[in-house]
Amino acid sequence: MKKQILVNDNLIEWQENLTINKILKIMNYSFKMLVIKVDGELIKKDEYGTKIVSENADVKIIHLISGG
């Protein structure tokens, strides 16, 4: 069985050395005003490239509102 994580309640295939930046790329999330939590823990912007997400993690990538 494939290893997975949840991203905004969507099941996504997990891979080795999966960083937040990689998840953003996989999901094609290009919007910048985000609040990201992994298993409830807030991830700061300067950790997006270094924080490794483990399998079965519950990742919330909350997009804020922008525009008129």
């Binding site: 905004n8 309640d9 969507n10 094609n28 999330y29 290009s30 919007f31 910048k32 005003m33 609040v35 990201i36 807030l42 700061k44 919330k60 990538i61 909350i62 997009h63 804020l64 509102i65 922008s66 525009g67 008129g68």
Partner: protein
């Protein structure tokens, strides 16, 4: 990374860090009068001097603007350093003996009374100490150069050009807010706010956020709302050829970088004096290719996102020059770019589906992507002739006119109802809502018609999955329309609320509401009027007006369930082509959400079932929203609700008795 030593303590810093920044990380305090994160280090006061051993020599430098590029050792408290600071402070104290921050630093270095009196001694507690923060803030934070230094040596002073009042000053108060001594202060004579300082504090917070974070967040100063085009395309939300699709391979041609290269104006006072978000952009010397001003070079105000998406992708025209020209002529003729674009997109789809033909359009081939014909329609609308007279009446009337004048089948009439993107007679603005039920409500339930400015919920709903239940969506469709109505009540722009966010916003329980800014607006109201309110009263103020407007709509035959109806394209795929373009998404939903067996089913069968489900969901959403807002089953505010919010005026009750 570079290893350095500060007073014996080791620290690793990034190349380019200043010594002052590194010291702060070690909680070492260096005295400085002109150090602020929001402006570049300037080295004006020189109190931050330190000794640096760079391997070759020991030299004295100002720590605020010394960039660390190699391993160094820093001495903060060497005898030479302390002696220099003491001498500087004695000289400052001799000139500005009563400025509190100078007195405090001087006392720390044992200087209580200077040995001399400066010839230009200023005994004011609020004396200007020539730190230069105001000059740099005006230039770097506000993008203006209203004030600057004049004179040299003891004659150095902060002035406006030629030492006269400079009318270009927009009164943003940034200089006053950053001034450490109070030498510059603002007086708001026209508005007479109850508490100016409290207002300034909130304004300065936004200005600081814009200075520090806008480049990484929305780039409002750089491109304005046009930054959204590529984002909407990435999320399948950019309306393409009358909202059939949400992205297009040629969308890159409308990328904000393309417009950024054309923008010649992006001044801080672009649309409102003193606003440092400065999102209004302009293009100078654009040479028009068509119309009554053909060949003339003009200034074009914009374009903003809605104009780019509407006049570009939604018409199947991926040419930025067309967008700019359409923007100019819409403004010149007094036509809304959104209604023009969405209306014409409807016409183009009717043309491609045989509801219209060249005979009916005055020989114009109104296919998607036909720039020349699209521009001709705009000129006809402006002149009031040809087929433009009909297009200019908007989608709701066009549907009626086409039904009456053209020999259409029932199927064609239904198709027009499905693809005519209007609600309450107003054309949709430029977002694809098919995958966000809450946003369908955002458009359909908005009082003025299909506009997104009451509630933009697509990310919360479709991307974040934050509001999965009908009750969740209804709560969002209560809070956000009420909150955003308040900006209209106050005459305030809402972009500073949500197009820049505080650095600590992520740490709040409800980051989507941007609580730090809500608190700011509450403070703004209280400080301006002298009447203390809280965030609940803010919503209550809107509720009174919002419900009154709904009753007004009801009196005119609009404020009810029927008027909240939306065209089906807002909720789902109208054609097989649309279904099949996103078949994986729709098939998955049919199976997982509704246990529908797709085996052997045609696209039309699947599409019909999906439509039934989504239309039912929209009605359930209306039920939930009406309930949350205190309205009856037909979407009319109840007399009890009006009583609760203090709006049970006799005339209002009289209207509601007819419900």
């Amino acid at each position: 990374m570079i290893n350095i030593i500060i007073d014996g303590k080791k620290i690793e810093v990034e190349k380019g860090t200043t010594i002052l920044e590194a010291a702060k990380k070690l909680n070492i305090i260096i005295p400085a009068l002109c150090d602020r994160e929001v402006v570049k280090a300037y080295g004006a006061c020189r109190l931050c001097v330190v000794d640096v051993n760079d391997g070759n020599e020991i030299k004295m430098v100002t720590s605020c603007n010394y960039l660390i590029n190699k391993e160094i050792e820093v001495f903060m408290q060497s005898e030479r350093v302390r002696k220099t600071r003491k001498m500087l402070l004695e000289m400052m104290l001799s000139r500005w003996p009563n400025v509190p921050m100078i007195k405090q630093f001087a006392a720390e270095y044992g200087v209580i009374k200077p040995r001399m009196i400066h010839p230009l001694v200023d005994y004011s507690e609020n004396a200007c100490i020539l730190c230069g923060l105001c000059v740099n803030a005006c230039s770097e934070m506000v993008w203006e150069d209203i004030i600057g230094f004049a004179g040299r040596g003891e004659n150095r002073r902060v002035v406006m050009p030629f030492e006269k009042h400079y009318e270009a000053c927009i009164g943003c108060s940034t200089c006053a807010n950053i001034c450490p001594t109070g030498a510059i202060y603002m007086t708001d004579i026209p508005n007479k706010p109850a508490d100016e300082k409290r207002i300034d504090k909130f304004g300065m917070k936004i200005t600081e956020e814009m200075t520090l974070m806008d480049d990484e967040q929305c780039d409002m100063r750089g491109v304005g709302t046009a930054h959204l085009t590529q984002i909407m395309n990435d999320y399948d939300l950019l309306p393409t050829t009358n909202y059939r699709f949400g992205s297009h391979k040629e969308a890159g041609k409308l990328h904000s970088d393309v417009f950024k290269a054309k923008f010649t104006q992006g001044l801080p006072d672009g649309c409102w004096l003193g606003c440092t978000m400065s999102c209004a952009k302009s293009i100078d010397n654009y040479e028009l290719k068509s119309g009554p001003y053909k060949g003339q070079k003009v200034l074009v105000d914009g374009p903003e996102y809605e104009t780019v998406a509407g006049c570009g992708a939604n018409l199947g025209i991926f040419n930025p020059e067309f967008v700019i020209e359409a923007n100019f002529y819409c403004d010149t003729y007094g036509i809304d770019t959104i209604s023009f674009a969405t209306g014409l997109a409807f016409v183009m789809e009717c043309f491609e589906n045989g509801i219209l033909d060249k005979e009916k359009t005055g020989d114009l081939e109104l296919n998607f992507g036909n720039e020349e014909a699209a521009m001709e329609i705009l000129h006809q609308m402006g002149r009031g002739d040809g087929f433009g007279i009909i297009v200019g009446q908007g989608i709701r009337r066009m549907k009626k006119i086409f039904t009456e004048k053209n020999d259409l089948t029932d199927e064609q009439i239904q198709f027009m109802q499905d693809i005519g993107m209007e609600a309450k007679g107003l054309e949709y603005s430029e977002y694809v809502t098919k995958e966000s039920l809450a946003m369908q409500g955002g458009y359909g339930l908005a009082l003025k018609g299909a506009q997104h400015d009451e509630a933009w919920l697509i990310f919360m709903d479709m991307v974040n999955n934050q509001i999965p239940t009908f009750a969740d969506k209804a709560e969002a469709l209560h809070y956000f329309p009420m909150f955003r109505t308040w900006f209209g009540l106050m005459g305030l722009c809402k972009l500073p609320w949500n197009d820049v966010e505080p650095a600590d916003n992520a740490e709040n329980d409800e980051p989507a509401k941007i609580p730090g800014h809500v608190e700011g607006y509450v403070n703004f109201f209280s400080a301006m009027t002298g009447k203390e309110i809280d965030k609940h009263e803010l919503i209550r103020q809107s509720e009174r007006v919002y419900n009154f407007q709904r009753v007004f709509n009801f009196r005119l035959g609009y404020g009810n369930r029927e008027s909240d109806r939306i065209p089906y394209r807002s909720a789902g795929p109208v054609t097989n082509e649309e279904y099949e373009s996103r078949a994986e998404r729709y098939d998955k939903q049919l199976i997982e959400k509704w246990n529908y067996d797709i085996e052997g089913k045609t696209s039309k069968e699947k599409r019909d079932f999906l439509r039934k489900m989504r239309e039912e969901d929209y009605q359930k959403l209306c039920d939930a929203v009406y309930n949350r807002r205190g309205w009856d089953d037909n979407g009319v505010p109840t007399i009890e609700k009006m009583r609760e919010i203090g709006m049970d005026l006799p005339e209002v009750v009289e209207v509601l008795k007819r419900a």
